[in-house]
């Protein structure tokens, strides 16, 4: 198994010493090259889970192994794409993409490398632009190229297209799918869009909230490209919806 998460728990303790269990008994196994979506209502701990796998947040208990190594801090084997592009505004597109490569290769090698990944996201014409000169969708593509450039085995994406308009998002879905096919990365993709998860992933991990648990693990056995299989997509959507509805009701009633 490529990625294993065993009995993971995460608790936050607030100012009043009240313990908030955000993730409870999370167990997950992922094969190399799988595209996994993590779907769940707001606040169920999706970002926290991803952040723990990235090594940015420490777990309260539990074990994570990636490719046989136990995870405790960030590493270049795991590329992260955040909801916001997180590009460095003082660097050009090219310089942003070679940021993670500075140590392991010469500048010219790094640039060749960067160009390869910028080509994948179709941004080779913007090498010397600054982030503020690009649209949100373009910035997010640069961020994806940057994460890919360090050649991680695992790509962690936290609602990477959440802030984009519908058309841009749909175009990026297609791009991401082909990148995934070409690079054979393992992808953990957080979203709260059911359609997005069905369109992209091999498996959908549905999470429940308060505390964050894994409700179910749904295999999406639809041939790609999935646009041609609307009927099967709707069936899965209904299946996922059954699980999610209860959770969303829980969130809504909690807020009232």
């Amino acid at each position: 198994m490529f990625l294993t998460i065993n009995d993971l728990n995460k608790q936050f303790i607030d100012q009043n010493d009240i313990t908030n269990t955000v993730l409870q008994d999370i167990n997950l196994n992922v094969e190399q090259g799988e595209f996994i979506s993590i779907l769940g209502p707001s606040g169920c701990g999706k970002s926290t889970l991803l952040s723990i796998v990235a090594g940015l947040t420490s777990a309260t208990s539990g074990q994570i192994n990636v490719d046989g190594h136990s995870i405790s801090k960030p590493g270049k084997d795991r590329g992260v794409v955040f909801q916001e592009p997180a590009l460095f505004p003082w660097l050009t597109v090219k310089e942003n993409v070679i940021f993670p490569l500075k140590k392991e290769m010469s500048k010219s090698e790094a640039i060749t490398h960067a160009k390869k990944y910028l080509k994948m996201v179709q941004l080779t014409n913007y090498l010397d632009h600054y982030p503020h000169e690009l649209s949100g969708g373009m910035q997010q593509r640069v961020a994806i190229a940057r994460a890919l450039a360090m050649d991680p085995t695992l790509l962690l994406m936290d609602e990477p297209f959440g802030a984009l308009d519908e058309q841009t998002r749909s175009r990026l879905h297609t791009q991401l799918e082909s990148i995934w096919r070409d690079t054979k990365k393992t992808i953990l993709f957080v979203t709260h869009s059911i359609t997005e998860s069905i369109k992209l992933s091999d498996r959908i991990i549905v999470m429940g909230t308060q505390p964050g648990v894994i409700l179910t693990d749904i295999k999406v056995d639809i041939p790609r490209p999935r646009e041609d299989h609307k009927q099967e997509m709707i069936e899965i959507e209904e299946h996922v919806m059954q699980y999610l509805k209860k959770e969303i009701d829980k969130v809504v009633s909690g807020e009232l």
Partner: protein
């Protein structure tokens, strides 16, 4: 009308009114000389080079004092941004020091260094250091956490993280800090020179005043103001604007 024309017109009217008042003797030439006499003082000051030497001397001190204060301010700023203990101790006294006009230190400085240019440079350093330190601290503390997270996932940490992410991310504050440091240092320099010793622009002002040469006094005041405005608007504000745009502020 373009702002530049408005501005020119405004100055024309102002100087016109000043000339008119002098010509009609609304005020006496001795206490408030006419623009023409001020201009003549300027020309003769340039010709006999007193103004030029004064300017050079002032700028030399400014350059020394300001560079030291930027370096020192940056170091203190980084220290108090990074160390909680330093912030609780040095940080707390910084705001108090910043609110003391640095010229207040002159009597002490003269005791320590004598009535010479070391004392003036000391005042200039004090003028710029604290405001620089406070801005650097703000800059470093306000680096978006997302940049740091992103950098860490790309293998950056420790000094590398600071050098490649935290410091560049706080450049807008570095620029603002430098602009304010320059402004405080310039004021401190003029005050210091006025009260201590020459050569220098401030000293020329005092000297002119001692000799009752009011047109030279006004001439030097105008030079001080014009230099201040030029450096601030043409240099610092321009850099600040470019940086703000690039940094997406």
């Amino acid at each position: 009308m373009k702002p530049i024309f408005k501005r020119i017109l405004f100055f024309v009217i102002l100087i016109g009114f000043w000339s008119l008042g002098s010509a009609l003797e609304w005020w006496s030439e001795i206490i408030f000389p006419s623009p023409l006499s001020v201009w003549q003082s300027f020309v003769s000051g340039i010709e006999d080079k007193t103004l030029i030497y004064g300017l050079i001397a002032s700028f030399r001190r400014l350059a020394i004092g300001l560079s030291i204060s930027l370096l020192l301010g940056t170091s203190i700023g980084i220290l108090i941004a990074k160390s909680k203990t330093a912030d609780d101790t040095i940080g707390s006294i910084l705001l108090a020091l910043q609110s003391v006009p640095s010229i207040v230190w002159l009597p002490l400085a003269i005791m320590w260094f004598g009535l010479n240019e070391k004392a003036v440079i000391f005042i200039v350093i004090l003028g710029g250091t604290f405001v620089m330190a406070l801005n650097i601290r703000t800059g470093i503390k306000n680096v978006p956490p997302l940049y740091i997270k992103a950098a860490r996932t790309m293998g950056a940490g420790g000094i590398d993280l600071f050098r490649r992410v935290i410091f560049p991310a706080s450049i807008p504050h570095v620029v603002t800090g430098s602009r304010l440091a320059w402004a405080f240092a310039w004021r401190a320099l003029m005050a210091g020179e006025l009260l201590s010793t020459g050569p220098g622009l401030g000293y020329t002002l005092r000297y002119a005043s001692d000799f009752g040469d009011m047109s030279l006094v006004i001439c030097v005041m105008i030079i001080i103001g014009v230099i201040g405005a030029i450096v601030d608007q043409l240099i610092f504000q321009r850099i600040e604007k470019n940086v703000a745009k690039r940094w997406g502020l």
